[in-house]
Amino acid sequence: MKALLLRDLMLAFRAGGGFGLGLAFFLIVTVLVPFSVGPQSDLLARIAPGVLWLGALLACLLSLDRLLALDLEDGSLDLLATSPLPLEAALSIKALAHWLTTGLPLVLAAPLFGVLLNLPGPGYIWLVISLALGTPALSVIGTFGAALTVGIKRGGLLLSLLVLPLYVPTLIFGAETARRGAAGMDTSTPALMLAGITLAVIAVMPFASAAALRVNLR
């Protein structure tokens, strides 16, 4: 299992691995927002938590179609499926690798981008906490979408169509946590809900992903 994680991380960091693309995309979205809604700082401050959450979500989505498609192309998935590693574990590891290379950098960079959008002072800590709690769920749910569409040529757009509705609860509770944090309100309810969703998804979703992938491999 460690070997698979290390391999996926190594591949992401080598040339052509696409590490940093999600981060750059997140930055561009953040920069484009003031151009589209105007530079008034009070307006930006109000929408900053939601915009940052949406940007992070879209950045997570960006790299999902490479998650399994490349391994299918070069035959690695067939070989992994015949290896002693259960497919459920392999997919959990791949989701973890996706989070470490996409979600975690977003979490760490988010406060920086918060400055660009004039995020109010108490919002920073809650933005980081909500993203740290929520982005793992985005990676795990995204892995399920990737497993569903891995056999489909040019499945990228379909993948977005399938995955985005599944992101709704995570987005609602995540953005609500950040928004309440920024407004200095009590965040415990949405933060706990968000954590609950993430834990439940990590526990159950790999089974659905593995079932879908087995169908696609046969």
Binding site: A3, L4, R14, S76
Partner: protein
């Protein structure tokens, strides 16, 4: 007896391609599957490897015993030869990759990225992967494609050593490799209109 297949039927895309196939492979034995293109060799091998469920019949002794190698070698072009091999060794719980490197003459290529290898070199690396799995049953689909004469010799040596060590090999190939092997022509078991019961569309007729 390592692997027993009894009355096996396999399907491709919901359509049966082989029906009622039975055979055994003993430890230390090799079996070569023959048949024209489209006869179902690849489908049979994928079923034996557990990648797709059989339509009916039984396969005994394959689960967690099989190392599978097919047309694509499962190599990452941005990893070196050593890294690729080390990864697969770790997945199968093995450590030492030196014998595999030696057996397929890969030492000189050790630090090359797999993406820069020629087709034959990639195939050699793909076959070396079999040695680091530590699995007794090799299931090989056209293993000698794009190998030159010398590399085919290396492959034959590796297979012979594997058989001598009590392993077994099932392969589909069109050439006649210089190893002791039984040959099984699967054409007689091809599904025909009369025997095609079990197709996923069957119920609609």
């Amino acid at each position: 007896m390592v692997l027993t297949v009894h009355d096996l039927s396999v399907a491709r895309g919901g359509v049966p391609v082989l029906t009622g196939l039975s055979f055994d492979v003993e430890a230390g034995c090799a079996l070569i599957l023959r048949g024209p293109n489209g006869a179902g060799k690849t489908t049979l091998l994928r079923t034996l490897a557990g990648l797709q469920p059989p339509l009916s019949g039984e396969i005994a002794g394959a689960e967690d015993q099989v190392a599978y190698a097919a047309h694509s070698d499962g190599l990452k072009s941005m990893l070196t030869v050593r890294e690729n091999l080390t990864f697969w060794a770790a997945v199968f719980g093995q450590r030492d990759i030196t014998p595999a490197m030696t057996a397929f003459n890969l030492e000189d290529l050790e630090e090359r990225l797999a993406g820069t290898l020629s087709a034959g070199q990639k195939r050699r690396l793909g076959l070396a992967r079999l040695l680091v799995t530590g699995r007794p049953v090799w299931i090989l689909d056209e293993p000698t494609v794009s190998l030159d004469q010398d590399a085919v010799r290396l492959f034959e040596t590796a297979v012979t050593a594997h058989l001598a060590g009590g392993g077994s090999v099932i392969m589909a190939t069109h050439i006649a490799p210089g190893i002791d092997a039984q040959v099984l022509d699967i054409s007689p078991w091809r599904a025909t209109a009369a025997t095609r019961a079990g197709a996923s569309d069957e119920a609609f007729l």
